[in-house]
């Protein structure tokens, strides 16, 4: 950071550098904040004249990525499960296996072979295989756990980056952060895109990520829609092909296959130097779980009136359960922590502007010196 602060050529790439310039010293709290604000676009790496093989060997993306991962582990809740983040790949695989086993065996115990392997049609078809109440209890419980875990982690992180001490956050700060996150503004590199995986800026990563995130959101919305249909409208699943749950779920599912697969594909061609090798397994695990969720979900949709439905339902629910159980201790958390960092950044940037500080972060001022 000392080197970056003395150079500052990258300050136009993303908010990390202006945030860095607002500081003269860098505590762990500052570095954790900056590391999570960083979106791993790697523009600063390709532009760095001090990157390896230069003797200064500056590698900002990797330094931040490693620190980021450590901060997630430090704040994961429950604390006892925190080490799972580091071995997220293994954890995801085990959780999947266990969840699948649980659901399959549980289902088999609850219904006999005839019901499980028969074709069901009409409202309530799914619930002939697995009762609605069981689904609600199981997934509702897990959902509450996930929300609690994410909330507690985020709150610990919020304090750790000094956001508590630094003054009130406004709705405007939240909106700025949400907008930046929703558009992935900081993967835009100012219009050209980010230089990942190659040296040439491109928007592919941003697009694949949008497919992933909005795909996920759409699937989630599908579930919400289903809940509304069930309790609000008194209609039981399965729903018609033109219904909100099915449309949202289908679009989401497609996005959630193309997106994560695309991101894995980009990573396969990427230079490993600016990446955190320790994050590889958690990234793969999450992407794979998302793709499996979508494939099984779409397969279930396609085959829901056939005898395969029962088994597919159990498999799909098993994967979904694994996905949710591993959510607080896997790649997913990056979104939460980065959003928090964006909020803190929005507030800091606003405070700096309104203070009208004499020397704003930026070098086109009094201290302009050339080589």
């Amino acid at each position: 950071m000392g080197i970056c602060n003395a150079c500052r050529y990258c300050e136009g790439y993303c908010p990390v550098f202006p945030a860095m310039e607002r500081r003269l010293e860098f505590s762990l709290s500052d570095l954790t904040f900056l590391a999570n604000l960083c979106h791993q676009c790697q523009a600063c790496y390709t532009a760095c004249q001090y990157a390896p093989p230069h003797e200064f060997a500056v590698n900002v993306p990797r330094s931040f990525a490693e620190l980021r991962r450590r901060s997630w582990v430090d704040h994961a809740w429950p604390r006892a499960l925190a080490p799972l983040l580091e071995r997220a790949g293994l954890w995801a695989a085990l959780a999947s296996a266990a969840s699948l086993a649980l659901i399959l065996i549980g289902t088999a115990l609850m219904v006999d072979g005839e019901v499980l392997f028969a074709a069901h049609a009409g409202p309530g078809a799914f619930y002939a295989v697995i009762p609605h109440q069981v689904m609600v209890a199981l997934f509702g419980g897990v959902f509450v756990y996930v929300i609690l875990a994410l909330w507690l982690g985020a709150r610990g992180f919020w304090r750790a980056i000094g956001a508590d001490a630094a003054g009130p956050v406004t709705v405007g700060d939240w909106l700025t952060a949400i907008r930046d996150a929703a558009t992935l503004r900081h993967l835009g590199g100012g219009g050209d895109g980010c230089p990942y995986p190659g040296e040439r800026p491109a928007n592919r990563r941003r697009v694949f990520h949008h497919l992933t995130f909005y795909g996920f959101a759409s699937c989630f919305a599908a579930t919400v829609a289903g809940t509304v249909y069930h309790y609000g409208l008194g209609l039981e699943a399965p729903y018609g092909f033109a219904s909100a749950p099915v449309i949202l779920g289908t679009l989401g599912g497609v996005g959630l296959i193309v997106g994560p697969a695309g991101l894995l594909w980009l990573r396969a061609g990427a230079d490993p130097e600016p990446l955190d090798p320790g994050a590889r397994s958690m990234d793969t695990a999450f992407a794979v779980l998302l793709v499996l969720t979508s494939i099984t979900g779409l397969a279930l949709l396609a085959a829901r009136e056939t005898p395969a439905m029962g088994l597919l339902l159990a498999v799909h629910l098993g994967i979904v359960l694994a996905l949710f159980l591993t959510l607080p201790h896997g790649r997913f958390v990056h979104g939460i922590y980065r959003l928090v960092a964006l909020v803190m950044n929005a507030r800091e940037a606003r405070a700096e502007m309104s203070a009208g500080s004499g020397e704003p972060a930026g070098t086109a001022g009094l201290y302009i010196t050339e080589r």
Partner: protein, 470 residues
């Protein structure tokens, strides 16, 4: 010696800003271009990797420059720092074409820094490259790839076959073997000779051993020597260069921009004899920093120390290396291996001479000394608040000014004042035509891009037989 595959239209020696502007221009004019770069792909671009901005005249705000910076004002700035030691025609050419070069850069996908946040932070005189010089070089090379320019890395050009003022081929070393590439025209854009300590010693004497070289270790001036040996007219003085006072702890080569120290105006500077030797506050630092390299070079062991007290903290860009701190001047002297009594006397004498005034780093304030030689004309405040801090200084050489004379078509001027038919030069190797002495921020890039484009166009015309002259 093996012959390289066939004849090329244009060979460009070097792969930095001037070289790539030439290569891209020549290619776009229809010539086949081979670029020879001595460095590896990762370290391509020479000194251009370290650059920050581009100085540009403009008569109205452009999207990356605010206000107005007229050609007249740009010329005045140049004349002031060079003391008039410049070829006025070539200077006018560089300044006059700077705005068009900015448009050319923008049109070729080079990104400049936008205004940050709500306050307009664009400079009036200099456009800042987004991501700095390496990002610029990356962009150039991506473009070169798209255009079909061949770039050969780790090829060191060692000689030029010039036959009666006509260029024939470049001899270069690759993988330990010497090769020869023939072409119809050549653009030499391979930098100055600052990394050639032997040559520097010829000009400066043993003092050169204490210089630090801010950029690439590859700029040994081989092509410059080859051109001069073939009869090219030299221009400039071998001791003239762009030199800046940098932290003495910087690496010998390639430390780049970040080893500079900007605290000089806010304290005093003493030599190894613990005495001051120049006015630290004569003008705004951006106008004076380029003078301090030579000032320090003239002192014993080419060493000096910038000393500040606690009041100066935060007033200057962060330094890369930590300050050497002490609770008293005497303690500081011990840490710096300076005579304590003399240093204490220097500081006491300075403090006593400081007149009260209103300190304002953003203006040429009225804090000055009286009855002190040398005076400190602005920002003079007593050094009395511990902790005291010192930064050791050494001259950091950016690039040398002795180069080849060129015409207004960037042709190298040969024996008898005749501009060569097919030999062109751009960048540091000819910057001395415009910069006889001194420096102003960003002008190196202006010269490189302007003459690079001119050289590229000329080389393409010469190679494709489009020149009218016999």
């Amino acid at each position: 010696m093996s012959d390289h595959s066939g004849d090329h239209d244009v060979i460009v020696v070097g792969a930095g800003n001037a070289a790539l502007s030439a290569a891209i221009t020549a290619r776009e004019a229809g010539a086949g271009v081979l670029v020879l770069e001595v460095a590896s792909r990762a370290m391509r671009g020479g000194n251009s990797r370290h650059v920050r901005n581009f100085r540009c005249a403009h008569d109205a705000p452009v999207d990356v420059l605010s206000g107005v910076y007229s050609r007249g004002e740009f010329m005045d700035d140049l004349l002031r720092v060079t003391g008039g030691r410049t070829d006025r025609d070539l200077a006018r050419l560089a300044i006059g074409q700077s705005e068009d070069c900015l448009r050319w850069l923008l049109g070729h996908g080079v990104r400049f820094q936008p205004p940050l946040g709500g306050t307009l932070q664009l400079s009036r005189t200099n456009a800042f490259f987004l991501g700095g010089g390496k990002a610029l070089i990356n962009r150039y090379h991506h473009l070169a790839e798209d255009l079909g320019i061949e770039v050969a890395y780790e090829c060191e050009a060692v000689g030029l076959d010039i036959d009666d003022g006509t260029f024939r081929a470049v001899r270069f070393r690759r993988d330990g073997a010497e090769e020869r590439a023939a072409a119809r025209a050549v653009v030499v854009a391979s930098g100055g000779f600052q990394a050639n300590i032997g040559w520097m010693r010829e000009a400066w004497g043993p003092a050169a051993d204490n210089f630090l070289i801010r950029g690439t270790a590859h700029n040994t001036g081989r092509m410059l020597r080859a051109l001069l040996d073939a009869g090219a007219e030299a221009i400039g003085d071998p001791t003239q260069c762009h030199a800046v006072a940098i932290d003495a702890r910087a690496p010998r080569f390639d430390g780049g921009l970040i080893t500079r120290l900007d605290c000089v105006p806010f304290g005093i500077v003493v030599n190894r004899e613990a005495r001051r030797f120049d006015d630290e506050g004569e003008d705004f630092w951006p106008r004076r920093y380029a003078v301090w390299g030579r000032l320090v070079a003239a002192e014993t062991d080419q060493t000096a120390y910038s000393i500040i007290d606690a009041k100066a903290r935060g007033l200057y860009m962060p330094a890369l290396y930590p300050a050497i701190e002490a609770g008293s001047i005497g303690e500081l002297a011990a840490k710096l291996d300076l005579d304590a009594a003399t240093l204490e006397a220097t500081v006491a004498g300075f403090n006593a001479a400081v007149r009260p005034g209103r300190f304002d780093p953003a203006a040429l304030d009225d804090c000055r000394t009286q009855g002190l030689d040398p005076p400190k004309t602005h920002w003079a405040r007593p050094l009395d608040t511990p902790p005291f801090a010192a930064f050791p200084l050494r001259p950091g050489i950016t690039f040398t000014y002795l180069g080849v004379r060129v015409s207004d078509e960037a042709r190298v001027v040969m024996d008898g004042g005749v501009p060569a038919a097919n030999i062109f030069a751009a960048g540091e190797v000819m910057a001395g035509n415009v910069l006889g002495a001194g420096y102003v921020a960003g002008i190196g890039m202006t010269i490189g891009t302007v003459f690079g484009r001119i050289a590229g166009a000329g080389a393409a015309r010469a190679a494709l037989g489009l020149d009218q002259a016999a």
